[in-house]
């Protein structure tokens, strides 16, 4: 299964390029002009999202460096351990929604301590792969079109992260 999937991924991009350009040429589209015109837009997109990216990364850095994040993780740990959730994976659950590189750091740290094939390592891997960096995605996507009122999107994203975390613990305990 995984071989099939990674096989598809390998073929996907080259075949897509071939199809897109082939079809466009057949339709008499000036492919080079269209491509460069689209590529040019990336500069305005990048300059539009940059301030939001920077603002969020700075705020997250403050939370991490101050030690507040670790404190909250510790507090949650005392609540969740009785529920059969290993406290070791909690920093992962807290870091995942706010920082992709931060949670990747936690993941490698857990691998070093417990090994990638331990239950903790597998739960953490599943968590890393099954959700996105919610706060970052919202800040960048909404920021790019100038929206400041996120309505319920933040709550939805965070609840989904919690669901993914609980599902990861439960599925890994069941399978491994």
């Amino acid at each position: 299964m995984s071989l099939v999937i990674s096989g598809i991924a390998q073929w996907f991009v080259p075949v897509l390029i071939l199809l897109v350009l082939g079809f466009a040429q057949w339709r008499r589209v000036k492919v080079f002009e269209a491509f460069t015109e689209g590529a040019k837009e990336s500069l305005s997109v990048a300059s539009a999202i940059f301030p939001f990216l920077l603002a969020m990364l700075v705020a997250i850095a403050v939370l991490r460096a101050s030690g507040l994040l670790a404190l909250v993780a510790g507090l949650c740990g005392t609540i969740l351990t009785p529920l059969g959730i290993p406290a070791e994976v909690l920093p992962m659950a807290l870091m995942r929604p706010i920082s992709g590189s931060g949670s990747l750091g936690v993941l490698t740290d857990l691998f070093k301590q417990y090994g990638p094939d331990s239950l903790i390592g597998r739960i953490a891997s599943t968590m890393q792969g099954s959700t996105e960096t919610t706060i970052y995605v919202l800040a960048v996507y909404f920021g790019s079109v100038g929206i400041s009122n996120y309505r319920h999107a933040l709550v939805v994203g965070l609840v989904a992260d919690l669901a993914a975390f609980l599902a990861a613990v439960w599925v890994c305990k069941l399978i491994f």
Partner: protein
């Protein structure tokens, strides 16, 4: 709303740093983060330019419209507020496909293009529309088939079979996505009723 969140993150962090005596670590962390933001944006720029170029070719040739016409029956029930055949549906579909295949670098520019098109349908430009909330519910819960980054890190850390978490990841991501869509539907109604 984002103003309050951001302010709370920074003020809370600084206040705690004063209390915990970690103030000295704050300044270097802030400037390191600012530098990371620049590296991220520069790193993204090349791939983003490539995919936006491809997307423009697809749009000009009519391939995007064809793609939308074929696949919209699957996706339109989730986005009832987007008119049939609207280009936003095409960008959403492309973004979800890229996410599904674990091509995160391709997913971001396509997703941002979708947001731009959704914004043209938004009656209140400062406020997120229903379709945007649903789209981001799908994106933040990240339906994916191959968690390529995780597999790479597992392999680098000496896992016996780095790919053995694919199954559990798919199950857990399906749970997250279902919960996200359900919550989105529920909260949309609640907020409207108020």
């Amino acid at each position: 709303m984002v103003n309050t969140l951001w302010l709370a993150m920074i003020l809370g962090g600084i206040a705690y740093a004063v209390y915990a005596g970690t103030l000295a670590e704050l300044t270097p962390a802030i400037f390191a983060a600012a530098e990371t933001a620049v590296q991220l944006i520069i790193g993204m720029l090349g791939v983003m330019a490539f995919w936006l170029g491809m997307a423009k070719v697809m749009e000009r040739s009519g391939l995007m419209q064809l793609f939308v016409r074929i696949l919209q029956p699957i996706i339109r029930p989730i986005f009832p507020s987007i008119p049939r055949g609207h280009p936003a549906l095409g960008s959403i579909l492309l973004n979800l496909t890229a996410n599904l295949l674990g091509l995160g670098n391709a997913a971001t520019p396509l997703g941002l293009a979708a947001m731009k098109q959704l914004q043209t349908l938004n009656p209140r430009p400062r406020e997120a529309s229903d379709a945007m909330c649903t789209f981001l519910a799908l994106n933040t819960s990240c339906i994916t088939l191959i968690p390529s980054t995780v597999i790479a890190v597992r392999a680098a850390s000496g896992a016996a079979r780095p790919t053995d978490i694919i199954g559990t990841t798919i199950i857990s991501t399906l749970v997250a996505t279902s919960v996200a869509l359900l919550m989105d539907r529920l909260l949309r109604q609640v907020r409207r009723g108020r």
